[in-house]
Symmetry: C2
C-alpha cells in the first residue's frame, strides 16, 4: 500500500492529503436541512449530513489528490450512526481509488492492539468465515505503550499489505510537554523516530519507503528536519499545515531529495474553504468547488516549496 | 461519578472491576451456535455472540462489583455491529447500576479530543437538539499529545460529572520503552503522574478523590508505590492482575491508608474463568457461574492484601 501511495503521489504530482474531519458547523445549511428533514435532528441526521458533505467534496477533488484522511473522532461523536458514515466514507473514497488513511490514533497492549489492527486494516475470523470491518489502507497509531503495542499493527500490515503512521511529534501546541523531554540528551520524539525506523525495517517496498510511517507536525519544522534524517525510509504524514499555522516553506526538509517522503494534510482549510474570505465567492451552494480550488492552491503552494529542496 | 464509584466500592467492599473484553474464543459454543444460526457467521453473528456472553456474565456478577470495563477494541474489531454490542453492553451495565469505564484509550489534539469526549462522556448538539452517543461513565485516555489533548476531556468531565483514567504506566512488558525514560533524572511516567495530579486538581469530589484518575499496571508494583504518593487524589485503575501476572500482594501500596484509591481490573481471569482448571467443574454451560466464583475469589484475594496495608 505504501507503494500505491507513492505511485499515486507521483501520478497526481500532489504530496497532499485531504482531511475529512467534518464538523456539523462546516456543513452548508441546505445539506443539513435535507438530512434533518429526512432523519430528524438526531445522530442519524447528523451522520447523513456529514456523509453527504463528504461525498460532495470527494467527488470534487478525487482526481487531484492521492489520498484522504478521515478523522474518526468526528464521526465517533455521533455514535453508531456517525461510525456508519465513517465506514461509508472509507468505502466511497476507496471506490474512487483514493488511498484512505484512517486517523484513528489507536494503540493498546498486545492482543488489544491486534483487535484494533484487524478491525481497521485486516480481517477477523467469525466461525469458519473471514469478515472485514472498517478496512482502511493506513491508520495512525499512538506509540506510548511501546513496541508490543505496535507490533500487532506491523504484523497485519505485513499480511495485508497495509500501512501505519506512528505519532512521533504531533502538531499541537503542548505536544512538547512529553514528546520533547530530553532522555539521554535526546528528545523523546527522536527515540520514537528511531523505533519507527526499526519497526518498519522489514516492510520497505519497491518505492524505497516502508509501510511504517510517522506523523510529524508541520508546526515544528526544525524537528521535522532532524526526524527526516533519523527515519529515511519512513513516509511522513504532516498535519498542521494551513489552519494550524504550518507554512509550505517550513516543510522543505520533510521531503527527501527524491521529492518524496512526505504527504501534507489539510482538513479545515480544504473542507471548509467556502467559509474563508478567499473562497467566499463560491458560496455555500458551491462549497465543493471552493474545496477543489483550495486543493489546487495547496498543491501549488506545497510543490513550490518541495521543488526548492 | 468518582464519588459514585467510591461509594459503590465501599458498599460492595470490592475494589474490583471486571473487564468485559470478549474474544470469540471465550464464548461457549452453545452461545456462538445460537448467534450464528440466527445471524450467520458474520460480524452481526459475532456481535450477537459477545453481547449474549457479556449479558450472562453481568447478570451473574453485578451484585458483587462496583464497575465494569468494556475494552472497545474487542468490539471495534467486529465493525459497526461490534460497536452496537459495545453500546448495548454499556447501557445494560448502567441499567444494573454498575459504573462503566470505557477502555477506549483515545487521545488527540484539541477539537478532536473534544469530539471523543462528547462522543463517549458527553452530549453532542445536532441542530437545535442535544444527543448522546456512547455515554460511558469514565474513559481511559492516552496522554502522549500533552495537556491540550487532555483538557477537552477534563472540561466534559466537569460539565457532565464524568471521569477519566489517564494512562501513566501501562501493564505490558514493553511499557518501559518510552514511559520509563529518565528525563531530568525522573522517569517519564512520574512526570505524567504529576500532570494527572494537576489536571484533576479542580475536580476533587466529596470522596476526596478526583475525576481525573490514572492507569498504573499491577505488573510494576514499585512504580505503583511511587505514583500513589505523587498523585494522592487520583484513583488508580490497575490492569494486569491475574492473567498478566500481577499478584494481589503486589498491590498493597496502590491503596491509600483509607483503603481506597485503587480499583483492580481482571478481564480474562473472570470472563473466561470456566476455561481454567480451577473452575472447570462449572463447564461451558455454567460459564457465568464460574465467572461469579472467580469474582468472589478475586475480591477475597485483593481485600486480604488491601487490609494488610
Amino acid at each position: 500500500m505504501i507503494d500505491k501511495l507513492v505511485k499515486k503521489i507521483q501520478q497526481t504530482d500532489a504530496p497532499v492529503v485531504v482531511g475529512l474531519d467534518p464538523m456539523l458547523s462546516y456543513v452548508p445549511e441546505q445539506i443539513c436541512k435535507k438530512a434533518f428533514d429526512e432523519y430528524g435532528e438526531t445522530l442519524a441526521g447528523a451522520a447523513e449530513a456529514i456523509w453527504q458533505f463528504n461525498k460532495g467534496i470527494v467527488d470534487a477533488v478525487c482526481d487531484l489528490i492521492p489520498a484522504v484522511k478521515p478523522q474518526i473522532a468526528m464521526y465517533e461523536q455521533f455514535g453508531i450512526e456517525g461510525l456508519q458514515a465513517f465506514q461509508k466514507t472509507v468505502a466511497y473514497c476507496k471506490s474512487k481509488d483514493l488511498v484512505v488513511i484512517g486517523d484513528v490514533k489507536r494503540g493498546d497492549i498486545g492482543s488489544t492492539s491486534a483487535a484494533y489492527a484487524v478491525g481497521h486494516l485486516g480481517k477477523v475470523k467469525v466461525g469458519s468465515r473471514i469478515c472485514q470491518a472498517f478496512d482502511e489502507d493506513f491508520v495512525t497509531v499512538n506509540p506510548y505503550l511501546g513496541t508490543d503495542g505496535i507490533l500487532p499493527f506491523v504484523d497485519v500490515c505485513k499480511e495485508e499489505h497495509k500501512g501505519i503512521f506512528v505519532l512521533v511529534k504531533t502538531s499541537n501546541p503542548s505536544s512538547g510537554e512529553f514528546q520533547d523531554r530530553l532522555t539521554d540528551g535526546k528528545p523523546l520524539y527522536e527515540l520514537v523516530g528511531k523505533m519507527v525506523d526499526q519497526w518498519g525495517a522489514d516492510l520497505v517496498g519497491t518505492s524505497g519507503y516502508s509501510a511504517v510511517g510517522a506523523v510529524v507536525g508541520a508546526t515544528y519544522p526544525e524537528m521535522g528536519k532532524i526526524l527526516r534524517s533519523i527515519m529515511p525510509k519512513a513516509y511522513i504524514l504532516v498535519p498542521g499545515y494551513g489552519a494550524q499555522g504550518g507554512k509550505a516553506s517550513d516543510l522543505v526538509h520533510y521531503f527527501n531529495e527524491d521529492g518524496l517522503g512526505a504527504i501534507v494534510n489539510s482538513s479545515r482549510g480544504i473542507i471548509a474553504a467556502y467559509k474563508q474570505e478567499k473562497y467566499s465567492r463560491f458560496g455555500a451552494g458551491a462549497y465543493a468547488d471552493a474545496s477543489r480550488q483550495a486543493v489546487i492552491d495547496m498543491i501549488s503552494d506545497i510543490n513550490e516549496a518541495r521543488k526548492s529542496r
